[in-house]
Amino acid sequence: MTQTLMPLMIAVPLGGAFLCAIMGKRSRALPDAMGFLVTLLAAAGAVWSVRLVAFEGPLVYTMGGWPAPEGIVLSLDGLTALMLVTVNLVAFLVAIYARGYMERYTSKRLFYGLFLLMLAGMNGVVLTGDMFNLFVFLEIASVASYALVAFGTGKHELEAAFKYGVMGTIASLFILLGIILLYARTSTLNMADMASQLADGGGDVVPLVTGLFLAGFGLKAALVPFHAWLPDAHPSAPAPISAMLSGVLIKSLGVYALVRVLFNVLGVAVPGEAFTPLIVLGILSMMVGVVLALGQWDMKRLLAYHSISQIGYVILAIGIGTPLAVLAGLFHLFNHSIFKSLLFLDSGALEHATGTRDLRRMAGVGRKLPVTSGSTLIASMSIAGIPPFNGFWSKLLIIVAAVRAGHSWSAFWAVLASILTLASFTKVLRYGFQGGAGNRLRQLAAVPLSMKVVLVLFAVICIGGGLLLLPSLRDLFLGPAADALAGGTRQLGFVLTGGAS
């Protein structure tokens, strides 16, 4: 029975999206209530999935009862559970925040409809055990996100959404082409079956497919040669959606799908060994992102460039490939989704209160908005890697893992990027919050309570995030996720044998 959790993680948001879109016209309260309830259920389900994986082992759900190699399966292992918690926790908090923030836009029912559709797509991407199914869920989440970026329908929003839409569609085509080539070679779409056939030799399409997937998923994850759409798209969306896009969308559609396919299906990235393309992409993203961020004055644009840089850390750590490095990378992925979501929500609260996103014009708001500025301070120190916040622990682990694996140069670049991040956020705090003179902003709009509560909750997770490294919690949450990547091409074998019941 426990397997039923998996289809529900997809079906509940999907049904919620549908109900919001068709029923939302009748009552104004329904979309808010639906958004809260569905994301609450999804978050509870995600936490339960961690417990299931830790105590019962990996699980398989066969859709419609068709057994594994022929039918479509959903699979749940440690890495999936980690992603489910990250995605649904952020989605839950963002849904509460959106209740107050989205009042200024016209149609809440369409907002929640698209939001829940995107959530369903992301849950589907992390749960599925079938390559074509992965593509379908990827597109569901992507199309919903194109529409959400354009939600404000202003000049900038539309332009950014068009650019994002075209780039995203091209990325999806690369991914689909890769899937077709794999299908032509192996005559199967099931990930586990595909992995075992490719491992038996005859992987002559593998280098080409690896290239296509690196480009396709790299575009979705905004790794550096493919990053041009992100600094336009993420700032243009409404703040809750910026938080979702930067916090979880680029990770579930980009990073998760990429590492899952490279490690567990293609087997080109061998656990325990370095995979050079990922290391190179990681270092490039890390440095280019942070250098471009230094010159920005628009707060959301600055944050968007930092997303590129922080994703670089994750990719670099996973590319190094030792168990410690993979654990550190996944830990940073979780932490980044928390502090970057918090920063984007803070920028939304500031925009709500002051009416601007320009750091120079919001100078001196620090004393007037204690909750917002306090949580921004915590998140900034987190992203810059100041102890004892969560970002410090994961960056420290990444650097230690890089040095121990003999990648001193990677460690050097990681330290340098961290220093530049600190410099960039010193600028945010110095100009945006403490700057004394600029008091043109006499009238500040009040930040609604629902938004404040969310900011405080995220800040608490930032402070307590380091606790996930305690051995008992690590074995529950991060450990199984790192083990899933360490399992290599045999990891998904449980899909064929049926998994734990």
Partner: protein, 113 residues
């Protein structure tokens, strides 16, 4: 083999069109061409030379090589997804036209990557 290479050429043409053209509608057309090339490739993967429709008759005799029906089913899904993306892009392009009065990318460019 020739057919696959032609598909890849069509795909490259579509991508080139999407990247190099300066008109929003032409960009959408480029994306659509690339999409069709990928779908065509998908159908071709399932084709067998001299293949018959994959229908088992009551007598149970094999009727020679059958084409692979799975890509045909999948390509329908892929076409529908393509339709959704194209419709969304076209809708956004129309809204842009209403704001700016032009489809020319050079005149629209307010954001810089």
């Amino acid at each position: 083999m020739t057919a696959y290479i032609l598909c890849l050429i069509l795909f490259s043409l579509g991508i080139y069109c999407a990247v190099s053209k300066r008109n929003l509608i032409k960009i959408i057309v480029g994306v659509a061409i690339a999409e069709y090339a990928v779908n065509l490739m998908f159908v071709l993967v399932g084709y067998r030379i001299g293949g018959v429709p994959p229908i088992f008759v009551a007598s149970g005799e094999a009727q020679g090589a059958m084409v692979d029906p799975l890509p045909h089913a999948l390509v329908l899904t892929s076409i529908v997804i393509g339709l959704a993306t194209t419709a969304l892009l076209a809708a956004i392009a129309m809204r842009i036209y209403r704001k700016y009065g032009t489809y020319d990318v050079n005149e629209i460019r307010e954001l810089r990557g």
